[in-house]
Symmetry: D2
Subunit: 254 residues, 4 copies
């Protein structure tokens, strides 16, 4: 029994995400209804028609799909264009123990948990309790919640209860106030990543990274450009995301 | 005993990659020698001085570092800016069974193996035997070779011996000739990624994807922009990589 | 007496363009009315309040402003991000005689006319008569119409009545059908520019440019990225224009 | 008699710029010599062979060509990707009177002079005398020097001797120190442009623009991407210019 799926409109190419469909008998679109039996009996990739005859492609939901189409969010999230690269640049692999400050809606924790599973763990700190509940709900996806420990703490006043982390990710408003604590919790030489949206924050973070003797400092921005895919008229899309954040990497010096 | 390390010049910020250092007694730079005892006794992140007094930061080598600084290559490789996103967009996770055509120097296989370890496996096809040997050497990194099966075959004439793949990655010169075979080896609804550098190839691939009834077709380009990190003069680097390839994703229709 | 102006909302920073205001007694905004006497008596750059007290900055209209905010359009236009560079790359200067095919709404003709005034002239061909009327209306701006000659002709069947052009600009759907004619009308060695939106068109144009022995062929794309300007939170805008067209330059070989 | 030309190598597509050729009898390339008679007798766009038989395309030199290939420079210059847009955004047209601070090698003055000729003038201030001489040499191109007035003054201590400018362009290291003076010299509501390379400078300029009551503030960055032009393998160039400067526009408030 599928509990979630995406239907892609065969005409408009719009995506519709459905969840908890194992408890329903049919799902409704603006262009008609589809029975859950059809959803369960047809393989992914099938064309299914609504009772009005409109065709949809039945599609499974992987982690990228979930973050783009299914994630419940109350915050700005770390988008796949950034999160997969961050996870890769941090060198995350099965078994790693990773610190996160600023769980938010959990999108970054999902990607990092997927990278360190099944033997590693993400230790995520978040001062706003309701975001922890929201992120836990998202992290049920593919049981990623099994690879995350949650702490409802504010690092501007609280301490980090763990240490010897293989990597750290910080997404908070004034990260310079907590970077020394985060650095102290890292293993020697390990990488830290900080995500901030403004020039002003980049400058403050760079100043603090010098103060705490981090090295191999890198600031990066990632852009993804999409294209229209009609074979006779291939061309870039008219508009694109121009900014999410500046990504700052460094290693802990000793 | 460390078998590889990176030294980052504290003045110029240049990287020097060393391997097989467990068999040496010292390593040599243009600015003097460093004893292997120092490399082994100091923690990562330490400043070590050459016998001439020049300072270097001692740094461990993670997968991103290895691909950027250590990889032996005889081909154009898939760079981290593309490979981590591709792995993420394909939804790779522990346990997945992934098809690859065009192993090349093994850079993409390394990233995908890291994503599906410890329970998954990459099945990689490469028609040029010497690239398999080269890639095997690279894949010794972090024992990633344990998660890759190699086939020295040419898909324009040979068949794919496996099936039921969770995802596929194709990096070959005329991919349209083999996409039907690759698609046949995928599970229903699963994602395929094709990487090509030219407009002309994008158009041919898109035509073939229509013919083999793939859907949810997306063409993307990824850019990473680096910045100079002096806190008083933060600014983008003067030059950047403008193109590696167009990344084409689709799902197998049924 | 001003005949046009822009009001910039001091709170939202929205632009409102007004024209033919010399015939009115007041102008109306969603936030109240402003008398034409105020518009005429206050210098540009002044803050003027509506009868409801809402503040606007009174602003004159230059060519860039007109194209962005005042142009009447029924077609895709050549935007300033492209048109000023094209005019510059073509080497346009006072006195030049320039050929244009595809007048459209006249945005490119305005920029080129501004570049060759007061002694030069743009000879613009357009097969759709109503666009000529539309463009003429736009070209009244700053009397630029004085520097444009209009021909209601279709170059796929008609001939070019002039010759010895210093430069040429082509913005049409299948430019490869007319490039030989355009090239014949150019002086030896002079530059031609073609604007097309798709990969497929770029390929066809490049093939034709080889056939007609053009050289120094260049294909370019221009991007402009805007920033939010609050001094304490400077950051790139979230979204940007990702594509208007590919700009193809060449010189006429002999 | 031509006094300058460009030869484009028909094989490598490299450009070679020559000047003062009216005083020579032949010009020399690595691949052989060409007589000045050939240069003068063949029209632009011709293929000319060296005495060793190597083919070159003979090409005239327009303003864009001169800035890219002929300009004598001792400074970072404003490149065409930025300068033509700046001139356009400032609304420059024949007859305008424009202020410039920071003449440098004269590249921006050339573009602005070309825009305001024949009836306008650029008033350019430069504190380093030798740059004025250098720029004057460059501005001999196409007699653009006729449209520029030079002042060897340092605006951090000296005053601006003129007023009622239609537009202003500032390219100096700490522009915030002089913006009030520049603003005072502008006509009401007119546009100013400031070019700076770093985040830190952008922030300081934005603060000062608020202090001097400028409005309609815009910060922009321009990118140009080049493509390889073989019709069968069209693709973006591998590398591109990623940064020259941030372009800050505003209008003078009253």
């Amino acid at each position: 029994m599928k509990d979630k799926c995406i239907l892609i409109d065969c005409v408009s190419n719009d995506y519709i995400y459905f969840e908890n469909i194992d408890k329903a008998s049919q799902i409704s679109t603006h262009k008609g209804n589809i029975s859950i039996d059809d959803i369960n009996n047809y393989p992914a990739g099938s064309v299914i028609h609504t009772h009005k005859g409109h065709p949809y492609r039945l599609t499974d939901v992987d982690l990228h799909d979930y973050i783009m189409f299914g994630l419940k969010r109350e915050t700005q999230i770390v988008y796949p264009k950034d999160s997969f690269f961050i996870s890769g640049y941090l060198g995350l692999k099965n078994g790693d123990k990773v610190f996160e400050c600023g769980l938010g809606s959990g999108a970054m924790a999902m990607v990092m948990a997927n990278s360190v599973a099944p033997d590693g763990k993400i230790f995520s700190y978040e001062k706003r309790e309701r975001f922890i509940e929201l992120a836990k709900d998202n992290l049920k996806f593919d049981n990623l919640i099994n690879f995350v420990e949650f702490s409802n703490k504010d690092l501007e006043v609280d301490e980090i209860g763990e240490g010897d982390f293989d990597a750290a990710f910080v997404d908070s408003k004034e990260p310079w106030n907590i970077l020394r604590k985060v650095s102290d919790s890292l293993k020697a030489g390990k990488k830290m990543c900080i995500l901030v949206p403004t020039f002003n924050q980049v400058i403050e973070v760079l100043k603090e990274l010098k103060r705490i003797h981090h090295f191999d400092i890198a600031v990066k921005e990632i852009f993804i450009r999409d294209f229209k895919t009609l074979p006779d008229r291939v061309r870039p899309e008219d508009r694109m995301v121009a900014h999410t954040g500046f990504i700052i990497f460094s290693r802990k010096g000793v």
